[in-house]
């Protein structure tokens, strides 16, 4: 009975105010992302490293003070180096702006980078980059100097990779799982990891109820 109640709660219609944001799924590109309105879809070219122009697909919504953009760049050359792709993408995104944050990121089992960039005009972008299945995935929420960054955060955090695969080898991807099973921290707490401040924190991937 409890499960039925929970299921009903989960499936209950969202409040009307949430209807503006919807999840848009693109299975042929192995991702889904939420936009505040139906995105415009365009094909364009992307200037990759070494001056190469490659095809790209852009999904975007522009609203007052904000632009939400998802770019998929075709970089299927087997010789492509992930780090080189991401480094170039970071530089391109940043332009003349200042990179405030550039940290490793993971969505599902796809690893990449997350950025926060402040433009010279005071604009702000929150973005993430992933090289996966021969494509560069670039999600970016940009706001004007007077805009609200809350919606950009909402957008950038909505990316989901739906392919079920990883851009890491099984060994590398499994290191986290092994840590949960057999890697207690100094305090002897299974599933904990040492954070940068030296304290132990439970790695959420080790929670049994984590999705």
């Amino acid at each position: 009975m409890r499960m039925l109640v929970l299921a009903a709660a989960v499936l209950a219609g969202a409040p009307a105010s949430a209807q503006s944001w919807k999840e848009y799924a693109y299975p042929s590109y192995s991702f889904s992302v939420s936009f505040p309105a139906e995105p415009k879809i365009e094909t364009t070219t992307y200037q990759a490293a070494a001056g190469r122009s490659v095809p790209a697909r852009v999904y975007s919504v522009a609203q007052a003070g904000a632009v939400f953009k998802m770019t998929i760049v075709e970089l299927a050359d087997p010789a492509t180096d992930e780090n080189a792709v991401l480094d170039h993408a970071v530089k391109t995104l940043a332009g003349n702006g200042e990179i405030k944050v550039n940290i490793p990121a993971r969505i599902n089992r796809v690893f990449g980078r997350q950025l926060s960039i402040v433009g010279q005009d005071g604009s702000h972008s929150t973005a993430a980059l992933f090289y996966y299945k021969g494509r560069l995935y670039q999600i970016e929420g940009s706001i004007s100097p007077t805009g609200s960054d809350a919606q950009a955060i909402r957008f950038q955090q909505s990316l989901v990779f739906t392919g079920g695969e990883s851009n890491r080898s099984p060994d590398a991807a499994g290191q986290g799982r092994r840590r949960c099973r057999g890697g207690p921290d100094k305090a002897g707490v299974p599933g904990s990891v040492a954070a940068d401040d030296g304290q132990s924190r439970l790695d959420l991937r080790c929670r049994r109820d984590a999705r």
């Binding site: 990121a105 969505i107 929150t126 809350a150 439970l202 109820d209």
Partner: protein, 136 residues
């Protein structure tokens, strides 16, 4: 300004600390810091993979600034006592978060206290403030 940075033990906030699940890493949040936002609900989005709470919080000049607070998915939230209409526009709440490292107006949800003192979430410390790590 109603924005306060408080230690975990100093505030009677339900540390339901609903995680953003394994959907993505938590490296963008400063898990060493806890910030309490005292504001008014603008919108509560009951969505997958994360639900979102948009909160209007007064800045130093008394002007409302919108904050985006990331919660877990509806399944996990329902287990914690949330429902799609738990939070409605206009409600005054205090929300504890791990703030974003870049200083923008967002954070990872930790706990919630309603104006009448009611708290949401797990009281026994599961999913407490000290969660997640900086590693993806």
């Amino acid at each position: 300004m109603k924005l306060k940075a408080l230690g975990f033990a100093g505030l009677a906030v339900a540390l339901s600390a609903i995680p953003a699940s394994a959907h993505h890493s938590f490296a963008m949040f400063d898990t060493t810091a806890t910030t309490t936002l005292d504001g008014t609900v603008k919108e509560f989005q009951w969505t997958n993979p994360h639900s979102w709470l948009f909160l209007a919080v007064a800045d130093a000049d008394g002007q409302p600034v919108q904050w985006a607070i990331e919660l877990g998915g509806p399944g996990g939230l329902a287990r914690q006592g949330f429902a799609p209409t738990t939070l409605t526009p206009g409600m005054n709440v205090k929300v504890a978060i791990h703030p974003l490292k870049d200083g923008t107006h967002g954070g990872q949800f930790m706990g919630l206290t309603f104006a009448d003192g009611t708290q949401l979430g797990n009281q026994n410390g599961r999913g407490g403030a000290r969660r997640g790590g900086d590693t993806p």
